[in-house]
């Protein structure tokens, strides 16, 4: 009896040692890499932006299907959480829909930025408001509450109902910066979830909010053009349509081991040209323009 207990204990400890040697402890400190030089095994923790979560999770799923020794956990939690956690080293990759420089209290100089994808956004309105195109000037007036009825911008006689995102959400930051030129939106319903925002806009008379392109899958909400420029992937890539943001993956210092392999995997053509568009993201590699943390646009 006793002997058996010892045996199982020994067995367990052996297993533990082997596992520890594989570097699969909770913090997944993969920095030491793998002894065999095979960099597609071990475990990796990714956290952050909920807008990116589906994309990274799908990439991770495919990656793990090809590399059965790798275990990649993609946690959501929000851009703030992702940046905080990667900065303090509790995850290897932190996803964010804003530049690290734009967030307070993040040592951006310690982080390395990988722009994985681009997300275009535009204003979404209830189909009954009778407006399909809006000038930027009017868009700002609508969102700051200066214009209160759709008939002032050539639509139906309906009161405007604003649907906002939480103060620090990346979607909101992007829309305010590039869609409203920094003007503070007036008060409106605030929802964190794109699905809920879409639902509210489609059900509420006169509602306007903003959504990423990937949510315009049906006719329940109308996609607005801005200044006559249609909100399409091509126009974003050419730099004609201004409201877009990078989806960033940050690592603390240069990535090594599995983190590097996985980021390379997300940047390769297969993922960029197939998986991303399938989910409504714009491949970062297809962009003809670039933007820096200050928001300056330059041609690639």
């Amino acid at each position: 009896m006793k002997a058996r207990k010892w045996l199982s204990f020994l067995g367990l400890s052996l297993l533990l040692v082997i596992l520890a040697a594989c570097g699969s402890d909770d913090n997944g400190s993969e920095a030491n890499g793998n002894s065999e030089g095979n960099e597609a095994s071990g475990s990796l923790l990714v956290s952050g932006s909920s807008a990116m979560q589906p994309l990274v999770a799908a990439a991770a799923e495919e990656f793990m299907a090809e590399n059965s020794d790798a275990d990649i956990q993609v946690q959501a939690g929000g851009s703030g959480t992702g940046l905080s956690q990667v900065a303090e080293g509790s995850v290897e990759i932190g996803n964010s829909d804003v530049f690290a420089e734009e967030k307070e209290g993040i040592p951006a100089e310690e982080l390395v930025d990988f722009k994985i994808a681009v997300v275009g956004m535009t204003a979404a309105v209830n189909p009954e408001v009778g407006v399909k195109d809006i000038s930027k000037e009017d868009l700002i007036k609508v969102f700051t509450g200066e214009i209160k009825n759709w008939k002032e911008v050539g639509g139906e006689d309906q009161e405007i109902v604003l649907v906002n995102r939480p103060d620090s959400s990346g979607t909101r930051a992007t829309f305010v910066k590039y869609g409203l030129d920094g003007a503070t939106p007036a008060e409106g319903i605030t929802e964190d979830s794109s699905n809920t925002v879409k639902k509210i806009i489609s059900e509420t008379k006169g509602a306007i909010g903003y959504l990423a392109f990937s949510y315009f899958t049906d006719d329940s909400v109308t996609k607005l053009s801005v200044d006559g420029v249609e909100a399409t992937d091509e126009n974003v890539q050419n730099g004609d349509f201004p409201i877009w943001a990078y989806e960033h993956s940050y690592t603390k210092g240069e990535p090594t081991g599995l983190a590097k392999t996985f980021i390379d995997y997300m940047m390769n053509d297969d993922v960029q040209n197939n998986l991303l568009p399938e989910q409504g993201y714009i491949p970062a590699t297809a962009m003809k323009v670039e933007r820096d943390a200050e928001g300056n646009i330059s041609n690639k």
Binding site: L12, L15, L16, L19, S24, D26, N27, S43, L45, S50, A51, Q53, P54, A57, A58, E61, M64, D71, Q73, V74, Q75, A76, G77, Q85, S90, V91, D192, S193, S194, N195, T196, S214, Y215, T217, E278, Q279, G280
Partner: protein
């Protein structure tokens, strides 16, 4: 108006209120089940969820819910029973007892989001575990402990006094009496209370958002080694439970069938709670039979 007439009116109003409450419950359950049951297929229960495509299931979330509940109960039951015994048998009428009672009341009335925030500070950041089952379970323990203590205490207080006194008269010591007489007699009510409390734990989401996280690693159900990363039994992995899943598909899902998944998951949650309640009642009824017949 005579007082007789008023009496009639009052009676019918109270009857109407009772009827309204039953109607609300039936409406809620009816809605959840009619919307959700068509979605709940064997397939739905046994396929992993998808973050992208339609047709994902809830296999891992369902497992996580039960597993988190199980780990929570491992912590809660011994502690809760111990605390309940203390309050019922050992606590003297002192300041300390009063203070403990206050603590129990405070813990019982804490908002679950506050418990989640505490868990984030202590079980996630301070311990360095990150989002994990154990962190979630510990947060839920904080949430569930006062309930367990109260249940145990009440159960012990309803044990007839002569049972206890007979045992003490036979020269048994206090702890021995508690261990061999009181707790076994009170056990059915403790069990019933624990199962009812389980229902609450099972559906809790706010306290888990910040502690057990919103994701589940790829699980290999053939791997029973609790130390392996992809083992479902690993307590140091993040775990999205069913209730949290409803929340997260609504807030961040881009799957086209959000509504179906949420409806189906809601139905499964509610059915589970129903089963918990039926189990508690069934056990209660069994015990009642035992206590009243052939004694």
């Amino acid at each position: 108006m005579s007082s007789k007439a008023w009496d009639k009116i009052a009676t019918s109003i109270f009857g109407a209120i009772a009827f309204l409450i039953v109607a609300i419950l039936i409406a809620l359950f009816g809605y959840i089940l009619t919307k959700g049951l068509p979605v709940v297929t064997w397939d739905f229960l046994t396929t992993p969820s998808s973050t992208v495509r339609a047709g994902g299931g809830i296999r891992d979330q369902l497992f996580n819910s039960f597993y988190v509940l199980f780990i929570t109960m491992i912590f809660t039951v011994p502690l809760g029973i111990g605390g309940g015994i203390y309050m019922a048998e050992y606590a003297k009428d002192t300041k300390l007892t009063g203070f403990i009672r206050t603590c129990i009341e405070v813990l019982a009335s804490l908002p679950s989001i506050v418990i989640g925030m505490f868990g984030l500070l202590v079980f996630v950041n301070l311990t360095g575990w990150g989002y994990s089952i154990i962190g979630g379970a510990l947060a839920l323990t904080v949430f569930n402990l006062p309930v367990m203590v109260r249940v145990t205490e009440d159960a012990l207080r309803t044990v007839p006094r002569d049972q206890k006194e007979a045992s003490l008269a036979l020269g048994m010591t206090k702890w021995h009496t508690i261990k061999t007489i009181l707790v076994p007699i009170a056990f059915p009510s403790i069990l019933t209370g624990a199962i009812l409390a389980s229902g609450r734990v099972f559906g809790e989401a706010a306290a888990l958002l910040f502690t057990a996280g919103l994701s589940t690693p790829r699980l290999d159900y053939a791997n029973w080694n609790p130390f392996a990363d992809n083992s479902p039994l690993n307590v140091f992995r993040p775990a999205e439970t069913l209730a949290v899943h409803i929340w997260s598909v609504n807030t961040q899902g881009i799957i086209p069938d959000v509504e179906q998944v949420a409806n189906g998951a809601s139905a499964v949650l509610v059915i589970s709670v129903l089963l918990f309640n039926l189990a508690a009642r069934g056990i209660g009824a069994l015990i009642f039979k035992k206590m009243t017949a052939s004694k």
